[in-house]
Structure formats: structure tokens, C-alpha cells
């Protein structure tokens, strides 16, 4: 067998870092040699000019002049004095304190310079030492201004001249040769460009194709047969305009176009949580849908784009009714992703800010500001400072929840919730105290039980029951003792003597002595543990910054310091020795066994009783007390009303501060403070923010950018045509695409502004154009020159999106629920809400969505891929979803006279047209032959050996248990039921499922056809 390449990778724990640090610590401890008197000759500039400058230029300037590696320049005296990230590079007069000398000496703990080259000759090193000792003279004429540690590349006029930053140009539509073709100015821009290349557009689409395209484009659903009829019958000049108006007025419009924005907004309804208190690994945002519904409503109500942007960044800072109306928009920031508990707080918070900078800059501005986190942007004029100016806005923006209920209801809920919590605590504390007291009391009976045990296991070998009765023992406790005394002495030696005694067959007297000794030991351990606890309580109390104990932190705004990760965990507490601690644990806490399988639920400690076991050992009055407390808790749980809805939003912190540049992106290495502000290149004088976090000012700055408008109109264009005029819709920078039609882009942006930033107006103008209404046909000359159709000489055919596929099938089967908004549902085979209302998990994305190229909700997405993979075909072939909805459509046509009539009706519903004669025949042939063939095959199979049959049966839900999601878990794999083993439909749905029929199979085939799945 061949040898395979494998992968190796390991984390080096911090201990490694520790070893490295030792070196540094050592060197730092050395004392510098006293400076010698300066040599007169060296004070002249001769030494510098003849030796030092050439030396620096030859060995250092490559990295430490313009590019300032590690923040250090060595091309001026001031720069050396200022130094880099690790401090000053030089102390004039004191070579031994000068890092410049240390690095060329290759001293321990210093980087070895020049990097990657041989060590400098000793004479050169001596020269440097001599120069420093003499005061490091550097001719004044050469003094360059000292650069800042966070080196900044200046923004030049050339940078500012880049096309994307220019004001929108109002260009007149160009003249075209084929003056008959254009329907509006959009067409003139398109046609002029085509004509320049000697190309011409293909023929327009037929009316049916156009209606289907427009309906899917605007609503995500196919047209009904009636809509098709009406449009075909309408021969008026503005027939299509009327269709567009009707579609734009439909509530379905917001559901289709809102989803486009949700891709950009990285909309997710949960976050991965390493410290999820419920152990699920993620935390849902139960009211996330409020943001989703706000986006849908914003599109339906045609909210002007500037308000759309402002609401999502700063709705809480708006006035009056706008604030209330737009509060849910804050989900753009409030729904995270929040990373707070997934690492050290400094780092996770920086990562959160990075997400905001990235989503805001790419989403609204089409500018990749995120690239400037560690260094100035490599292509675009975005200095690191600009990044931290923006990140500063989000430093001062924290998570908060805005209740959407009157204050009285909120207060009542909170009061009841708090009371319930206190009561629960009371119950737990009381029970724990009783359990501890009982256990400690039982410790004083240890000798009794051990002596009794010896009577059973030792020589007398008496009957267990009789001993229990005779000695008046607790049966269960006695059982525990018998098991405990046989424990392997792995963790502590305390039972060794006893076990040796039993093994050799000791006497009752020996047993009694050992039993008494063990009881003494146990009591000693109890007492010591109490001591330790008292001491530790003091240590903890001293360490706590406030008198109030910390509540367990679980909301994104509650993690402030690393201590919140695990309050008190950093304290150095006292403990008993390991063996005594372990014994204490076994007896009073949790009795562990070396042979236990990992993950097995723990057993109570030897003397520890929980639940009913505890209560029955308590007196009647104390039992009644526990009972009473428990009943109270239960009653209060019942009385707690359903929690009011609230927005997952953000608010400004009380005292905003500016952020320091993170050198090379590291939050632990800080550079200069940067005032919160906007991007330098987009404002002649860098705009700084002063009101609170600056979110509102940021929103205003964004909406005034021509780039922001171009980005939005380009997104709309791309959704309609498949490709953008700039086909990198979230990157309009140097590394993105240049627009194929810059004048058209500006025309659309200006049109947008002129029409009150109305997205609907933009749709109308675009859809009215001849270019939108082109057919998907081809043309050899155009294909040869522009196979990618970037010049729009034809319509781009494309597969429906994940949402469109599912919604269209539900729609034609008659199952689709057309209500707008509301909490998200799990997508299962029979779930009937539109897909936009399905759960969107960042932790585990729904498999159906993923299969059909739904983007990752963890990062802003500029476009969807469109893949065609065999697994998608398996979904069409095998899933319960496809079969069930095919059966539903089959049911609708069952009453027709014959197969021919049924086929015709199905074609009209699915494709809006009648079948051809060939198509009808193919369908009829299948329906007639299939029933017979199926019957014969099944009969033949029934004659096969029985185990094969058993196997087939067994397949149903074979791995259902293994795949079972945790309760309240991420979406189940419901949509995959039938297509994937283990993915099953919910039980209540299974009951509603229709039996598989031949006509249903036929309908399923039609619903899997290219004509249905593709938009032409």
C-alpha cells in the first residue's frame, strides 16, 4: 500500500511561550556598562558620514525607512529615538541600553539583525557602539520629521482621483445607430457600448418568458396561470408596466428583495457560543425575526435608501416616531455575530469590532476597510488609522435589548422573573445545606458501617439484610459502603490497609481498629475542608471588586473582562493535598471510579444524598419545608407570563472613548489614539465624530457618499441581470472590478437620487428597458466576443435560488402560506411558510439552504454562487418534500376527465402553457406503463430472500437517533427527509403525508425539469 501524506499541526501551549520569555527576562535584568567618556573624534560628523550612514543604508533602510517594519524607521535620529513597537531604538551616550546595538550584536532576547543576513563584521558593530556612545550625531540638515509608530501612507491626489470616489457625473445618454431599439436611456448606454464592439442585442423575450422572469425577479414566485392569461390577453402598450406595478405592490416583493439585503447584512438567528449555559454550543436570538421583518417591510414600503441605512446603524439615535418605527433595524448590529466568550476578551471584542467595520464598509460602501486592520490597505487609500477611527465607533456601541412592550408589562415580568430566581436559589441552597449536614452527620457513623461491612465481607460472612436490621442501618447507605470499600486504591492510599486486612482475613478487632481510624481520618478531612473553605471565602471576598457577587454573564454586553469568563478562577486558592481532596470528593461530592466510561453521569458521593433520597432521610418538618419551596417555585414558573418581544439592538456606552491603533492588528500592542471618524479618502478634511459613539454621524457620512449610492444601484442591477455593472458588488476598490458601463452606473445612481432614493422607482426604470426584456437566445458573433455577456446582449439564464425553488414548489402545490412576518420556522417537508421565514443558523445552516448555495450568515455576502451538483439532483429525485408537494398538485388535478386533461392542467400550473403533443404523449406513456411495471417489479422483489426485505424496511430512519438534534437545537434536516438517511420529517408531519402515486411521480419529474428550475 502506498504511503500517504498526512497532516501535522499542533498547538504549542503557553508553556512554550514561557520558555521564550525567560530569555527576555534574563537579558532585561543585566545592568548596562557605564558609558565611557566620549571620544572627541567621534563627535564630528565624520564617523557618521563615513561609516554609520552607509552601514544603515546598506543593511537597514530596506525595511526600516519607508516601510517602517515593526513601526521602526532608522533614517533619522528622531526616528531612532522614538523607536518602534518595542520602544526606543537608541539611548544616545549609552550603547548598552540601545536596542540598535543589541540587535546587531545578536544579543539574547533581541531580534537578530539584519534579518536573514550574516551578522555585521565586528568592526561595524564597534563603530555603531562608538557612534552611540559619542551622542549619535546626525547632521541636522538630514533630520526628517519623526514618523509615528503606526506608520501611515499618505493619501495622494492620484488616490483621490480613483473613479469610485468621484461625484456622480450627469452624462447625457449617448447617440446610437439603431435608434428603434432603445426604450429608455438605460438602453442607449447599453446599445452604444454594444455598437462600439460591433455587436447587437438578440431578439426580445416572448411574453410568457418575460412575465415569468419579472414575477420571479420581483416576488420570488412564478406567475399563476391566470396572471399569464391576463398578460397575454393585454395588448396595450403599457401592459408590462402594469405588471411591474402590480408586482411591486405585492407584499411578496419585500420577501424577495429583503432577502437580498439579508445576505449583505449577514443575517443570522444564533451565534456559536463556546460557553453556552445550556450546553448546545450556540445561543439563539429569539427575536431575530424582528429585524428580518423590518427589512422586508422597508422594501415593501419603499423606505428611501438613506433612511434605510441610517436606521440600521443608528435607529436608537433618531427622534420620535422614527425611532420607534425603526428600532428593529438595529438588528444589523445587535444580532452580531458576537464573539465575546470565545477567547480572551481583548481579542474577541476586537474581532466583533472588525465584523462591524467589515460589514458596514463592504455592505454600504463597497469598500474593504477590514483589510486595514493590521496594516495600511495594500491597494486602496485606507490607512490603518481610518480603520481604527471606524472601529472606535463600535468600541462605544454595546449590545442591548429594547423591549417592545409597555413599561408596566416589562417591569412586571422582570419582577416576577427575579422573584422566581431568588426562590430557586433558596431551594437549591437549602437543599444543598441539608445534604451537606446530613453527609457530615453520616461521617460520624463511618466506623459503625465499616464494622458492619466487615461482618458481611469478612469472616462471619453474614447476610446483608440481617446485619442491616440488627445494626439498624440505612440499607442504601450500607450498600454504598460495601461498594466503596472495594474501590481500587488508585487515587489515595487510605483504603489499602482495610483491603489488605480483608484479603488476608483479619479479625473483628483488626477491622474495628481500622474502621475507627478511617472515621477519624474522614472527620479530619471534613474539618480541614471547612477550614480551607473559610480561608478561600476570605481570599475570594478580598479579591472581589464590589460587595455584590457577580451574576453569571451571558449576554454580549456582560463580558467586560477575562474574569467574567470564569469569575474568581484566577484566584490562588488553598487546597488540601491531592489524596485528601480526592477522598473528600469521593465521599461528599461525586464518587468517581477509574473504570467509569468517560461522559458517564456522575454518582453521588458516598455520603451524599440528592433529591428524594435526601428528603426521605430528613425529618418531616424539614421535608415539608423543601416541598413547600418546590411548590412555590413551580407555581411561580406557571405564573410567569410569556416573555415580551424585544429587539436585539445596540446602544451607545455612557462615556465614549477613542480607540488606539492596534499595532499589526494586535489588541495588546497599542499605538496612537485615533479620534472616531470617517474614511480620510472620502472626506477632504477627515470627518471626526463627537456625538456618542458617532453612529448617527457615520450613517450621515455614508449616505452622502456617491460610492454608497453606486453600490446600492449596482446591487439592484445585479439581482436583475445576474451580473453587476461592477461585478464585485461589495468591492469598488482598486482590486475590485471596474464598471463595464461607468456612465450607466452614474446615470442609475443619479436616477436613484432624483427619485428620492426609491428602490421601487429604480426597479421600474430598469425593467422598462429593452435590455431587461431581452430573450435568452444566443448569437454566434456576440458569443465569440463576449461569451460572459458582460455587455448585456442577451438575458442571462439562471437557476432559481434556494428560496425560489422551495417557494415555487409550495406555491404550485397550493400549500404556500402567504402570511407576512413572524417567528422563524424549521424548514421541514410540509412546513408551508416562505423560505425567508425559515431559521437561519450560523452554527449549523439548514442543509437544504446550503445545498442550493445560500451564503454563510457569518459574513457579509456580496453574491450567491450558483452550483449544479449531483446532490441537488438527489434532492429532486428522492426527497419527501418533492414527492409530497408533487402529490398535492396531483390531487388538485385528480378530478379531471383523463390523463390528457390532467397533464394539460399541470402544465398550465407549472409552466403557464399547454403541453405539446409530444409532451402529452410522453406523459401518458409513462403513466400507463409505470403502474404495471411497478406492480411486476414489486412482486418479483417479494419473492426474493426475506433478509433483503428486512434490510429495506430497516433503512427507514436508520440513523435517526444518531442525527437527532438537541432539544431547541439548530434546524433539523427536515427538508432532506427521504433524500438523506437519518433526516426524517417530524412525526406530526408524517401522519399528514400522502401516499406515493404514479401521477405524483410524474408531477415530481416535471417539477425537476430545467424549464421549471431555470429562469430564462
Amino acid at each position: 500500500m502506498p504511503l500517504y501524506q498526512s497532516e501535522s499541526g499542533r498547538f504549542t501551549a503557553v508553556m512554550v511561550g514561557a520558555a521564550v520569555m525567560l530569555v527576555g527576562a534574563f537579558v532585561a535584568g543585566q545592568t548596562p556598562a557605564p558609558a565611557t567618556p566620549a571620544a572627541a573624534a567621534a563627535q564630528t560628523t565624520d564617523l557618521f558620514e563615513t561609516r554609520i550612514r552607509p552601514l544603515l543604508a546598506a543593511n537597514c533602510f530596506a525595511c526600516h525607512s519607508e516601510s517602517a517594519m515593526a513601526g521602526l524607521r532608522v533614517d533619522s535620529r528622531a526616528a531612532l529615538l522614538r523607536g518602534g513597537e518595542t520602544g526606543p531604538a537608541m539611548v544616545p551616550g549609552d550603547p548598552d541600553k540601545s536596542a540598535l546595538l543589541k540587535v546587531v550584536q545578536h544579543a539574547d532576547g533581541f531580534p537578530r539583525m539584519p534579518r536573514g543576513r550574516a551578522k555585521l563584521p565586528a568592526a561595524d558593530i564597534d563603530a555603531i557602539a562608538e557612534w552611540i556612545r559619542a551622542g549619535a550625531v546626525w547632521p541636522a540638515a538630514d533630520e526628517a520629521p519623526a514618523p509615528v509608530a503606526s506608520h501611515e501612507r499618505p493619501i495622494t491626489a492620484e488616490h483621490r482621483g480613483f473613479w469610485a470616489f468621484q461625484p456622480i457625473k450627469k452624462a447625457a445618454a449617448p447617440a446610437v445607430q439603431n435608434a428603434a431599439w432603445p426604450r429608455n436611456d438605460i438602453d442607449r448606454f447599453i446599445l452604444a457600448r454594444l455598437e462600439r464592439d460591433g455587436l447587437a442585442p438578440v431578439a426580445p423575450a416572448d411574453k410568457l418568458t418575460l412575465l415569468r422572469r419579472a414575477t420571479l425577479d420581483l416576488t420570488g414566485l412564478p406567475p399563476t396561470a391566470e396572471e399569464v392569461d391576463a398578460f397575454l390577453a393585454d395588448t396595450s402598450a403599457d401592459a408590462f408596466d402594469k405588471v411591474v406595478d402590480r408586482l411591486l405592490a405585492s407584499p411578496r416583493y419585500g420577501e424577495q428583495w429583503g432577502r437580498m439585503w439579508l445576505d449583505v447584512a449577514r443575517y443570522g438567528e444564533d451565534d456559536y457560543r463556546s460557553l453556552d449555559p445550556m450546553g448546545r454550543g450556540f445561543n439563539p436570538y429569539p427575536n431575530a425575526h424582528l429585524y428580518r421583518d423590518w427589512v422586508i417591510r422597508a422594501f415593501n414600503e419603499d423606505l428611501p435608501y438613506d433612511q434605510f441605512v441610517t436606521a440600521q446603524l443608528a435607529a436608537d439615535l433618531l427622534d420620535g416616531p422614527d425611532r420607534v418605527r425603526h428600532l428593529p433595524a438595529l438588528g444589523f448590529l445587535g444580532l452580531g455575530p458576537w464573539y465575546y466568550d470565545n477567547g480572551a476578551v481583548e481579542i474577541t471584542r476586537a474581532d466583533e469590532r472588525h465584523d462591524r467595520v467589515d460589514a458596514v464598509s463592504r455592505g454600504f460602501l463597497g469598500f474593504t476597510v477590514g483589510c486595514a486592520r493590521c496594516h495600511d490597505h495594500k491597494y486602496d487609500p485606507i490607512p490603518t488609522k481610518d480603520y481604527y477611527g471606524l472601529a472606535g465607533v463600535f468600541l462605544n456601541t454595546e449590545y442591548t435589548e429594547y423591549p417592545l412592550a409597555p413599561k408596566a408589562i416589562v417591569d412586571e415580568y422582570k419582577a416576577k422573573e427575579k422573584a422566581l430566581k431568588l426562590k430557586r436559589e433558596m431551594l437549591n441552597e437549602y437543599t444543598a445545606a441539608e445534604a451537606r449536614q446530613l453527609a457530615e452527620t453520616l461521617a460520624f457513623q463511618s466506623a459503625t458501617y465499616m464494622k458492619a461491612a466487615w461482618q458481611v465481607i469478612g469472616e462471619p460472612k453474614k447476610d446483608k439484610l440481617s446485619i442491616v436490621e440488627k445494626e439498624k442501618l440505612d440499607y442504601e447507605l450500607f450498600d454504598r459502603w460495601l461498594a466503596f470499600l472495594q474501590k481500587k486504591p488508585v487515587f489515595y492510599p487510605f483504603l489499602k490497609d482495610w483491603q489488605a486486612m480483608v484479603a488476608k482475613g483479619g479479625t473483628a478487632k483488626e477491622a474495628a481498629t481500622l474502621a475507627d481510624a478511617f472515621q477519624d481520618l474522614l472527620i479530619g478531612v471534613v474539618l480541614e475542608q471547612r477550614e480551607v473553605k473559610k480561608e478561600n471565602d476570605i481570599i475570594k471576598a478580598r479579591a472581589l471588586p464590589t460587595a455584590k457577587p457577580k451574576e453569571p454573564a451571558n449576554l454580549p454586553n456582560e463580558f467586560i473582562t477575562n474574569d467574567d469568563f470564569c469569575p474568581g478562577c484566577g484566584l490562588e486558592l488553598r487546597s488540601m493535598t491531592v489524596d485528601r481532596t480526592t477522598l473528600w470528593g469521593d465521599v461528599f461530592y461525586s464518587n468517581l471510579d477509574p473504570d467509569d466510561a468517560p461522559g458517564k453521569p456522575s454518582r453521588p458521593g458516598l455520603l451524599q444524598f440528592r433529591g428524594w433520597g435526601l428528603e426521605q432521610r430528613l425529618g418531616g418538618d424539614r421535608r415539608a419545608l423543601i416541598e413547600g419551596l418546590r411548590k412555590d417555585v413551580e407555581a411561580m414558573e406557571k405564573a410567569l407570563p410569556e416573555k415580551f418581544a424585544y429587539v436585539h439592538g445596540v446602544k451607545d456606552v455612557e462615556k465614549p472613548v477613542d480607540l488606539k491603533v492596534h499595532l499589526r492588528g494586535s489588541p495588546t500592542r497599542l499605538g496612537d489614539t485615533v479620534p472616531r471618524g470617517f474614511l480620510s479618502v472620502m472626506s477632504p478634511e477627515r470627518i471626526t465624530f463627537s456625538k456618542g459613539s458617532g453612529r448617527l454621524e457615520l450613517a450621515r457620512a455614508i449616505t452622502q457618499q456617491p460610492m454608497a449610492l453606486r453600490v446600492m444601484v449596482n446591487r439592484v442591477w445585479k439581482e436583475h441581470f445576474g451580473t453587476g455593472l461592477v461585478n464585485t458588488p461589495s468591492n469598488f476598490g482598486l482590486n475590485g472590478e471596474k464598471p463595464t458601463h461607468p456612465e450607466l452606473l452614474d446615470y442609475l445612481a443619479q436616477y436613484f437620487v432624483d427619485h428620492g432614493m426609491s428602490t421601487k422607482a429604480l426597479h421600474k426604470e430598469i425593467m422598462r428597458s429593452a435590455v431587461y426584456q431581452l430573450g435568452a437566445g444566443t448569437q454566434a458573433a456576440a458569443f465569440a466576443k463576449d461569451s460572459g455577456n458582460r455587455l448585456y446582449w442577451r438575458a442571462n439564464r439562471h437557476r432559481m435560488s434556494a428560496e425560489q425553488i422551495r417557494d415555487a414548489i409550495l406555491f404550485v402545490s397550493g400549500a404556500l402560506d402567504l402570511r407576512v412576518g413572524g417567528p422563524s420556522v424549521t424548514l421541514t417537508p410540509l412546513a408551508d411558510r416562505r423560505t425567508v421565514y425559515g431559521k437561519v443558523s450560523r452554527y449549523k445552516l439548514d442543509e437544504f439552504l446550503q445545498l442550493f448555495d445560500f451564503p454563510s450568515p457569518s459574513q457579509t455576502a456580496e453574491h450567491r454562487f450558483s452550483t449544479s451538483v449531483p446532490l441537488q439532483r438527489l434532492f429532486f429525485m428522492n426527497s419527501d418534500f418533492m414527492q409530497q408537494h408533487a402529490e398535492r398538485l396531483a390531487e388538485q388535478v385528480a378530478d379531471e376527465a383523463d390523463d390528457t386533461a390532467r397533464i394539460q392542467k399541470v402544465y398550465r400550473k407549472l409552466f403557464g402553457r399547454a403541453p405539446t403533443a409530444d409532451e402529452t404523449k410522453a406523459g401518458r406513456d409513462f403513466l400507463q406503463a409505470e403502474a404495471l411495471k411497478q406492480y411486476e417489479e414489486r412482486r418479483a422483489k417479494a419473492k426474493m430472500p426475506p433478509d433483503k426485505d428486512a434490510e429495506a424496511k430497516d433503512d427507514k430512519g436508520a440513523t435517526a437517533d444518531a442525527d437527532k438534534p438537541p432539544a431547541d437545537g439548530p434546524p433539523a434536516d427536515g427538508m432532506m427527509a427521504g433524500a438523506k438517511p437519518g433526516a426524517t420529517a417530524p412525526a406530526d408531519e408524517k401522519k399528514k403525508m400522502l401516499p406515493v402515486s404514479t401521477f405524483g411521480r410524474y408531477v415530481k419529474i416535471l417539477m425537476s425539469s430545467n424549464e421549471f428550475l431555470f429562469v430564462s
Binding site: 501551549a13 520569555m21 484566577g570 468517581l592 477509574p594 454562487f865 451538483v869 428522492n878 438517511p981
Partner: protein
């Protein structure tokens, strides 16, 4: 997260990504990549054994003499900013020896691995800044401590494509999901969904076997086996669909998208019979099965080999939740320490090692083929909160 089957059939759809990597589908990746490397790249496949909860590098492959020197003393220079407070340093209780011509230092725990020293490439420079399992596992798999970046296997298949169109390019074998962190570890994030790892459960029916009588490879593979239809029925459905698609197209010129949809249908049909075969470890000889030993990890390793033999680019074998986690044997002692209410033990960098020498042998997860190379779990936890080792192994 089952998908990813049949990479090649849609290479035309995602051709951009492959073109961007400068590679033609089907052309050996190494030939193109070799330029610019100081040695020719020969690796075509990766088997990545992700032994979460494995023992610390200072006990296995990365001796730290300074720890001996500073044993019992606090961390010089104080606690690192991103760490929780720690107490004293602790040296490894194990001794190291140099092996092979390379002089690779290996712990006394792995004499047999030492024998292969010259075939092993050891990376000692990897680290994270985060003292926590989950972010570190994300870092290892995706290069970032937060969820949402493509995993290493996704990048590999994105860049290099796959060599077998009937199998996914990137397979993840794990006894159960969720493992620690779970799906985000093999997520394709912003890459096309097809590059995501395909999860295949590798849990054995019984811990003392590598394959039991109830084993059925068809049940492992997503989307492969239809419970309602026979293959003959499906064939006739597809034939009708193909003829209807052809009628609809009529005399129009071929559209690659529509053609792609039709051809992927054929691939899908074939996969239903062909794909389960690769997971059918019953087809291995008895001698091979014995060599691998019992347990889920052994099964995962054997399946991994079968997968790369058939051209799968990247296979990961994981431990699962419930497998020994973060524990040094006897693992219960560490559990005990975690459970200890005062957390007092957290204040030593590593709790004292038990004197027992029965360490590292658990029948359920130590395939003999790997010698002792695969340590089930044996990790001093606490204090330093992550020890993830994936000792590289050459299989077969």
C-alpha cells in the same frame, strides 16, 4: 452536513475557483504547484487526525528543558495578558530521546513513533493566543478563532478540486456530532457550499469491534439511498425527465448550464450505487481489520485510507464528544479536579501526574496500526487550557 458529492460534474460551474488557483481539473496539482517551491510537491491527499484532548506537546514531541529548570516556579514575566492567572510551571514527567538520522526528539511514550522519526515532519511553531479549546480548534481548522472562515479542507478542495467525481473532495469522519465546536470546524464559509466537509459518522456498533454485523455503508452516506423507490423506477423517471428536457430545448443550441443539470442527474444516479462502496470496510481483509484494531477511531482511520485511495483530497478523523477530553489518565482524576468546587487545582499549571503507568491504553481508541501514536486523551488541563495534538502518522 452532508453534501459535496460529485465535485467534477460541476467543475464547469465553479471553474473560476479552479482556474484562479492556476490548475486545470484533472491535471496533477503537483505539477503546477511545484514551481516556486524548493522541493517538488508530492502530496496529493491529506489525512488529518484531529486528536482533540491529546496530551501536551511538552510530554510528546516538543521537549522544553527550560521547564525542568523552572519547575515549580511562577511564569517569569508574569501571566500573559490573554491568559488567566496561572501558578507554577511544571516539567514533563516523561523523558525524551533522539531518534533517527534527524535526531528528532520523542517522548518515552512513543518508542515506535521514534522508529519512524525520519519519515515524520514535526511542526513545533504552531500556537494560539487563546487559552481555550474551542477557539483553538477553530484556529487550527480555519485559521481564525471565530466561526465563519473556510476550513483547511474547504480551501484545499477549492484550490485543487478533487480527483474523484463520485465522491466528495473533503470528508470528515467523526463518531458523533456535535463534537466540540462541531460543524463550524469543517464549514466552507464564503466558499461555494460544495467545498464544505462532508460529515460521515464513524461510530462503531460495538466498542470492541471495528465493524459489526449491523454495519451498513448505505446508511452512512447522505442522499444515497432512497427508501421509497427502486433503482429501476428511478431510472425510468430520469429517462422521462431527460426526454422532456430535450423536447423543451428543441433545436436551440446547447446551454452549458442546462447540460450540466442533466449530466449531474446521471452522476447522482450512479453515485447511489458506487459511493457506499468506499465506506464498506468489510471489504478489507481480516488481517487489515486486525491491524487497525477495534473502535471508532480505528474505523475512521481505515475509512480515511479507503477514501484517499479513491482520490478524496482531504479526510479528517475526529474524536467525538464523550471521547476522552482534556484528560490525563486515569481521566477521572482530571474530571474530579474540574468538579472540585474550589477549583483549587487550577492554580498549578498542571496538576501532579498520577504515578500510575497504565496511562494511554484504552481499548476503544488505540488502533495498534498507529503504535501508541494515537493517544486517546491524556491531557493535563487546567491552567493551560488547550492541548490539541495531531501527531502525524504515516499509514500503511
Amino acid at each position: 452536513m452532508g453534501n459535496g458529492f460529485g465535485m467534477l460534474a460541476f467543475a464547469s460551474m465553479i471553474g473560476k475557483s479552479i482556474a484562479a488557483a492556476g490548475l486545470d481539473q484533472g491535471k496533477p496539482a503537483a505539477a503546477t504547484l511545484a514551481k516556486g517551491l524548493h522541493h517538488p510537491a508530492r502530496a496529493k491527499h491529506v489525512i488529518f487526525l484531529f486528536m482533540n484532548g491529546g496530551l501536551s506537546q511538552v510530554d510528546s514531541f516538543d521537549p522544553k528543558p527550560m521547564l525542568d529548570k523552572y519547575h515549580g516556579q511562577p511564569l517569569p514575566g508574569g501571566t500573559v495578558a490573554t491568559e488567566r492567572k496561572t501558578g507554577a510551571l511544571m516539567r514533563s514527567p516523561f523523558t525524551f530521546k533522539k531518534y533517527g538520522q534527524s535526531g528528532l526528539e520523542v517522548s518515552e511514550l512513543f518508542p515506535h513513533v521514534g522508529g519512524c522519526a525520519d519519515d515524520i515532519c514535526m511542526i513545533r511553531s504552531m500556537h494560539t493566543d487563546i487559552p481555550n479549546h474551542e477557539p483553538s480548534m477553530l484556529m487550527m481548522n480555519t485559521g481564525h478563532i471565530q466561526v465563519g472562515r473556510p476550513s483547511i479542507g474547504s480551501w484545499l478542495t477549492y484550490g485543487l478540486g478533487t480527483e474523484n467525481k463520485n465522491l466528495p473532495g473533503y470528508v470528515v469522519l467523526c463518531p458523533d456530532v456535535p463534537t466540540t465546536v462541531g460543524p463550524p470546524l469543517w464549514n466552507g464559509a464564503f466558499l461555494p457550499a460544495v467545498h464544505q466537509g462532508t460529515f460521515i459518522p464513524s461510530k462503531v456498533e460495538r466498542p470492541d469491534q471495528i465493524v459489526g454485523k449491523d454495519f451498513d455503508p448505505k446508511k452512512l452516506v447522505s442522499f444515497i439511498h432512497n427508501k421509497s423507490f427502486t433503482l429501476a423506477e428511478q431510472r425510468r423517471e430520469l429517462d422521462l425527465l431527460a426526454s422532456l428536457d430535450a423536447m423543451q430545448r428543441g433545436s436551440a443550441p446547447a446551454d452549458p448550464q442546462l447540460e450540466g443539470a442533466i449530466s449531474s442527474m446521471e452522476t447522482a444516479y450512479r453515485m447511489q450505487t458506487e459511493a457506499p462502496d468506499v465506506f464498506d470496510i468489510r471489504k478489507e481483509s481480516q488481517a487489515t481489520l486486525e491491524l487497525y484494531g477495534p473502535g471508532s477511531t480505528a474505523r475512521g482511520c481505515l475509512m480515511a485510507v479507503r477514501l484517499v485511495e479513491r482520490g478524496v483530497r482531504m479526510v479528517q478523523v475526529y474524536y467525538a464528544k464523550g471521547d476522552p477530553w482534556d484528560a490525563f489518565l486515569p481521566s477521572q482524576l482530571s474530571i474530579r479536579i474540574v468538579c472540585e468546587p474550589s477549583f483549587s487545582m487550577r492554580n498549578t499549571v498542571r496538576p501532579p501526574q498520577p504515578a500510575t503507568t497504565t496511562r494511554y491504553s484504552r481499548s476503544s481508541a488505540s488502533p495498534s496500526a498507529f503504535t501508541e501514536g494515537i493517544i486517546t486523551a491524556s491531557s493535563p488541563l487546567l491552567g493551560f487550557h488547550f492541548q490539541i495534538t495531531s501527531p502525524m502518522m504515516s499509514v500503511k
